[in-house]
Amino acid sequence: MHFMSDEHIPREGELPLYDLDSLSFRYPDGTYALRDISLKIHRGDRIGLVGRNGSGKTTLVKHLNGLHSCQQGSISYKGEPLTEAMLPGLRLATGVLFQDPDDHLFCNSLFDDVAFGPMNQGLDEDTVISRVLEQLTAVGLEKLCYKPAHLLSYGQKKRAAFAAIMAMHPEVLILDEPTANLDPRQEKIFKELLREYRGTLIVIDHDLLFLYDLCDRAVVMSDGAIHHNYSFDQLVSQRESLREHGLDFTFRFSCCGDQQSVHVHQHYEHTHEHPIGAVHAPSVLPVPPLMELQHYSFRYGDGTLGLSNANLIIRPGDTLALVGENGAGKSTLAACLLGLNRGEGYFFVNGKPVNNALRRGLWRRVGMVFQNSADQLFTPSCREEVAFGPQQMGMKGDELNDRVNDALARVHLQGFEDKVPLNMSGGERKRLAIAAALSMHPELLILDEPTASLDPHGEELLTEILESLGLTTILITHDLFFIERLSTRAIVMHQGTIIRDYSTAEFLTDDHLQSVNGLDYSYKSDCGRRIMALQDHEKGVRILPID
């Protein structure tokens, strides 16, 4: 235990905002979610709350705004022990942003949603209106003020939920993975808004690079207890303790360190040059392509173009990274390859043009792992989950059992056959979803943001599994590290078109992309360098220059 008391931060004469003393919390089934938590939080603190999935972070912050009442131990807020009567006031002074923005947007227009908090604070109409407009403008949604939330994209919803909380001008702001599943541009918007925020900030996140820039204090939780409580620099510089808590994200630094930026970018695979009207045959290459798209477009029923004139060759053994901003058309392209979307253009599988019958059978060849495991796991046991695909293929008996066992083994889930998928951890569920696709022996596996909201430990395990698959894969992600580690070729999409198709090495050094679609990874590389320098300093080996 590296317990540093709060004394290292000089706070003479100031009452802590929160004073938690030996706080414990048990779920109704008797398991401890929090054990003996003692923590002081001062006004103006900027705390990064980190730890593995399930270590009690969310339960802790629910105590801070009175959603959970204190079972054992005590909580004081501004020097007074928290009572039932104080809860409404406490909730109005603290803003909490949970992960799913749909939970926060419960009214039928953005305006009503953002106004909900301020109105409950009892502000008069003019103040409320000005706050709503101020906050919606800050997140760039003022034009959508009277739209219902279901017409918004995920990123817009996330920003709207943030605006709804900021409109209350909270003294304390608590955020639970604010930037999960957002593209780098939207992440940057968040980061800037949070930098400007002057109150007490508590952020739960796995992305230490993101936190490093934002927070000055780190609280590490493990199994419901606080294991470390010290400055962020101290946290990141101690690699051993990071590893102990499944937080060692430095395995990531093998990649994005000191690459030099280049401005030239060549197309790795030449674009399909035929005019649209000409005769289209599958490309003749030394190795016949597994799949090929030529001038392929997809338009949604409301007329919006999801995919425009895409040309793409996927060869057996390719490991592709599909990158682009939220809404760039990555998922639409994946749905076309899966045969879910029926687009226009030329589509060849193993050299054969895809007709209706072939398209309906594409699911036998292409496996898909969705971003949200909950969308894919719907059976009461792992065995049934993994067997579902092969059963649809008409498999029975021993063959089916072998497939199930083999697939579970490949994702390190042996012995989980009878567990309930719903009660498993996020990382296990993700691996189960992969097993459910693998059991069908796909020729191509598409993974949509497989690492979203996994802790670094889970990420590392998943990376190892994916590396060992040896399948043709398409990886949809915003995460530079995984692109580098798991792909050899990068496809960049922007507004429905494929704008780059080149090697991952070229992608990593292509700083032109920033201006195209906000794929700005530079600050992360920057943070990474600074953290590595700190770690090296700790080890006393050498000190890299910090820029």
């Binding site: 629910k62 705004n65 009175g66 959603l67 409404p88 909730r91 109005l92 603290t94 803003g95 909490v96 949970f98 799913d100 749909d102 939970d103 926060h104 419960f106 009214c107 039928n108 227009s109 909900f116 908090g117 109105m119 409950n120 604070q121 009277y146 219902p148 939330a149 279901h150 709804a164 909380i165 209350m168 338009r299 949604y300 029923g301 409301d302 749905a335 899966l338 879910l340 979307n341 029926r342 699911w363 036998r364 292409v366 496996g367 898909m368 969705f370 949200n372 909950a374 969308d375 894919q376 796991l377 719907f378 009461p380 579902f388 695909g389 649809q392 719903l422 459910a436 696709a437 069908m440």
Partner: protein, 312 residues
């Protein structure tokens, strides 16, 4: 049986009547844009689970838009009940015409009201097809014999009864757009609570309405998750098992979400009330409009009872 005039319809006439009706239906379907949703589900393969936005045209302006929602709701709602009480086809048709005019006057594309009629088509066509053949024989009604169905005459009296129902149903369904589409849903519910409906009901309707869209999204994604693993629904146990799990998952996820939504509401200061700045102001014009509709309903009802006859 001799007291009943009989008409025997040749096959060709029957075929052309059916054909004509089919063409009319297709034209109607096409004109209200029913193909649009089908096209989307053709392209993505997702089932058509789209839910219309009830107040998409609430920001326009018309006779109905500029009407205090409270008086609008009360008077149109009472009017609808009066239409339900009509007993003659003739005056029901007049009510239907009034509804058509109201739809035109409310400045909302007809396709929206048309879709409402389409939604009832299945239920109402059951009446049109069944009642004429099964209604009891009435004195001096005309019986029409269709080719191939010698034992089952088509009762014209039964047909008029069924037609009366269809016309009334359409007359009321058409009034829904002027009634509900001309103010934001929140305002409509707010005015209902001013009219005495418990606040909690209005809040629940609003919340449910919001989360319908969230869950439609959720099941669309879940269904895709099943499709990419080869699920094709059929009439068999495997489908029932898969769909049983699917519904179970939907309910589990929704129960989980209830807790999260409740937490989010609490943390923004929810204390059992949805605060609102909506204010209603009633002018004499609003009252006049209300009086007009009530009078119209009463007039229809009066003239229906005085001069209407059950056949026409």
């Amino acid at each position: 049986m001799t007291a009943h005039p009989e008409i025997h319809i040749p096959l060709t006439t029957l075929a052309s009547i059916i054909g004509g009706l089919a063409v009319l239906f297709v034209l109607f379907y096409w004109s209200i844009g029913g193909k649009r949703a089908k096209r989307d589900s053709f392209r993505t393969g997702d089932p058509d689970w789209s839910v219309p936005t009830i107040d998409a045209y609430a920001d326009r302006s018309s006779f109905f838009h500029q009407w205090d929602p409270r008086i609008k709701i009360v008077s149109l709602f009472l009017y609808c009940f009066m239409v339900v009480s009509l007993q003659s086809l003739c005056w029901s048709t007049v009510a239907f015409t009034i509804s058509l005019l109201a739809v035109v006057a409310c400045n909302i594309p007809f396709a929206r009201a048309g879709k409402r009629l389409l939604a009832m088509a299945g239920f109402l066509s059951m009446f049109l097809l069944v009642v004429p053949f099964t209604s009891p024989l009435q004195s001096s009604e005309t019986l029409i014999y269709l080719p191939g169905l010698p034992g089952f005459p088509f009762h014209t009296a039964g047909f008029f009864v069924a037609l009366l129902i269809v016309v009334k149903a359409c007359a009321i369904a058409l009034m829904m757009e002027p009634l509900l589409g001309t103010a934001p849903l929140a305002v409509t519910l707010q005015s209902l609570s001013r009219l005495g409906l418990p606040d909690s009901i209005g809040q629940m309707v609003l919340l449910s309405h919001r989360y319908i869209f969230v869950f439609v999204n959720e099941i669309t994604r879940m269904y895709r998750g099943m499709r990419v693993r080869g699920f094709v629904p059929g009439t068999n146990m495997a489908t029932m098992s898969a769909m049983g799990n699917f519904f179970g998952m939907l309910f589990v996820r929704s129960f989980d979400r209830t807790q999260r939504v409740y937490d989010a509401m609490l943390s923004r200061g929810y204390a059992g009330q949805f605060p609102s700045f909506v204010r209603f102001a009633t002018t004499q014009k609003d009252w006049a409009k209300g009086a007009l509709w009530i009078m119209m309903g009463l007039f229809l009802l009066f003239i229906d009872r005085m001069y209407g006859n059950p056949f026409f």
